[in-house]
Amino acid sequence: MQEVSRRVFFKRAGGAAAVVAVGTSIAVSPAILAGASAGAATPKEAAISPQDDLRVGEHLVARVKNARTGEINLFIGQKEVTIHDRKIAARLIRAAR
């Protein structure tokens, strides 16, 4: 019988990230960063280029730490990247509220 691990199961079942808010942490889809609403997928989203897409089972978590400075921590894979962009921070907060 084929073995099923948690990771393998997740990889099979997983797709793009869900939108989940925990405190000030927000898991975002690339569409939000592009300025789209957090609603259903659009044809524009379906046509996203491979380099801008998430890999299977991968998701990106964004943590807006300081809206005034635009400090955002981005988590993807085993990486953390910090950016400073007040417009994106404001857009994320608006999308989450």
């Binding site: 948690r6 925990v22 990106l60 894979g77």
Partner: protein, 461 residues
């Protein structure tokens, strides 16, 4: 204790909670070092139907500093993966588990071992190594000892590894000690806070961890695998002969609950959530408000916590709890250079004996220090250096070492005369103990040394 549930945050995350760390020259293979990191405190043997297991989402590491700066020079990493081989059953096993590839065994763990050196170069030492099952009972896990011994795995260059459930070898009277410093053997001397009608009598200690299990990660490697420059030292008096050892558990930084699947998704870099070097340091010497920070900090930053070692709160409490019996200790106001040496820098050669040293350098870092040039003792004493045994704690830590009594007596001042000849020890110091001796512990004469775990069927009996 020694690090079981020692800090508020990690007490809520048992699979990442380190309980004990051991490091010693293998008594039956003296050209090797055995390193054991225990996790998951206070396992109740009858822990079904979901028996204990390592965290697939936890990075377990054992670090070695061989140049005294508090940074790792060699790290062994352990990653686990759990599989369900029979997805349709609710059971851990559907029949007796007679071997590590038994078709009756549903829920299994496998792990990889990676050695990382200072330059960051990772070397995978083993992959898909099976853990043994938990010790369930005579129907599910008959012949458990031989089943577990099959999980001892040989790797390249004389390295050996084991990861799985073991009987907890740590012994301590938790119930008394954390009832406001009650040491049962001298309980009759306790001030009892003048509670009306309460009087305590002297009594033997009670091992609060008796019949509980842990999950052990044990690795035995040639001394040359961890020594500075890859050369086994021969002169125990030299600082370069000692290494510092600690274990950490790390989790990925971002966690989001995935309600579609009913589990956490982890993303981002691994960050440290648990740390253990010397027993009892975070438990007893670090203030409660700083314990979580200590767990997230590296050893090289331990100068920040050094005040708790130089001025231990417990030393000040002893003469209050046992009025008049620790007058000399109460009057001693100097920083505790003895404890700083034992726990933060190692003991330089000449302090105890010309050939005895655990010194790694001036950097204050809580690491379990092991002198690689001191051979195993032919007649070991559980009291380690206090019993005249140079191969025991605080020179590394063996599974037999009575670290609670050693550290309690050290905090009570028994080691001050090593660094301050003017100090006179209190007469009561010889009686300072929780009263547990480790008698009756289940241990093995060879790797992985920790005994067969208690079975769920037979415990409690």
């Amino acid at each position: 204790m020694s690090s079981h549930r020692e800090a508020p945050e990690i007490s809520k995350d048992p699979v990442a909670d380190s309980t004990d760390l051991y490091a010693f020259i293998s008594p039956d293979k003296s050209n090797t070092v055995t390193l054991i990191a225990n996790y998951i405190p206070l396992e109740t043997p009858a822990g079904g139907p979901n028996f204990y297991e390592f965290g697939d989402d936890v990075l377990y590491e054992i670090h070695i500093d061989n140049d005294g700066d508090g940074y790792p020079d060699v790290t062994y990493q352990f990653n686990f993966e759990t599989v369900n081989t029979i997805p349709t059953t609710f059971l851990y096993n559907v029949g007796p588990i007679e071997s590590l590839n038994s078709a009756n065994w549903n829920r299994r763990q496998f792990y990889s071992v990676t050695r990382v050196t200072q330059n960051g170069f990772p070397q995978v030492l083993a992959q898909n190594v099976p853990c043994p099952p938990c010790n369930i009972g005579p129907l599910s896990t008959p012949n458990y000892a031989s089943l577990a011994s099959a999980a001892v795995h040989s790797m390249s260059n004389g390295r050996t590894v084991f990861a799985g459930q073991r009987a907890d070898a740590f012994f301590v009277d938790l119930g008394a000690i954390f009832d406001l410093g009650d040491l049962r053997p001298i309980a009759n001397l306790h001030n009892t806070f003048m509670i009306p009608g309460l009087s305590l009598s002297a009594a033997p200690g009670v091992n609060s961890l008796a019949s509980s299990n842990v999950h052990s990660i044990a690795i035995q490697v040639p001394i040359t695998d961890i020594a500075a420059g890859g050369v086994a030292p021969t002169n125990s008096a030299l600082a370069g002969s000692s290494v510092g050892v600690w274990t950490t558990a790390s989790r990925q930084k971002a966690r989001v609950w995935d309600s579609n699947h009913g589990w956490d998704d982890f993303t981002g870099p691994y960050v440290q959530v648990s740390r253990l070097g010397n027993p009892l340091v975070n438990e007893v010497l670090v203030p409660l408000s700083q314990k979580d920070l200590w767990n997230a900090s590296p050893p090289w930053q331990d100068k920040f916590f050094a005040n708790g070692v130089a001025h231990p709160e417990l030393a000040g409490l002893l003469n209050v709890l046992y009025p008049g019996f620790f007058k000399n200790l109460a009057a001693y106001s100097k920083p505790r250079a003895d404890l700083e040496a034992i726990l933060l820098t190692g003991i330089p050669a000449g302090v105890i004996a010309p050939t005895y040293s655990t010194f790694t350098g001036a950097t204050q870092a809580d690491m379990l220090r092991l002198n690689l040039a001191i051979p195993p003792a032919s007649t070991p004493s559980a009291m380690g250096i206090l019993g005249g045994d140079f191969a025991g704690y605080p020179n590394g830590r063996r599974v037999i070492d009575d670290v609670v009594t050693i550290e309690l007596q050290a905090i009570a001042g028994i080691t001050i005369p090593y660094v301050d000849g003017t100090y006179v020890k209190d007469a009561a110091i010889a009686d300072v103990s929780d009263g547990d001796t480790g008698a009756g512990l289940s241990l093995l004469p060879s790797f992985p040394y920790l005994g067969t775990p208690y079975s769920g069927y037979n415990t409690p009996s």
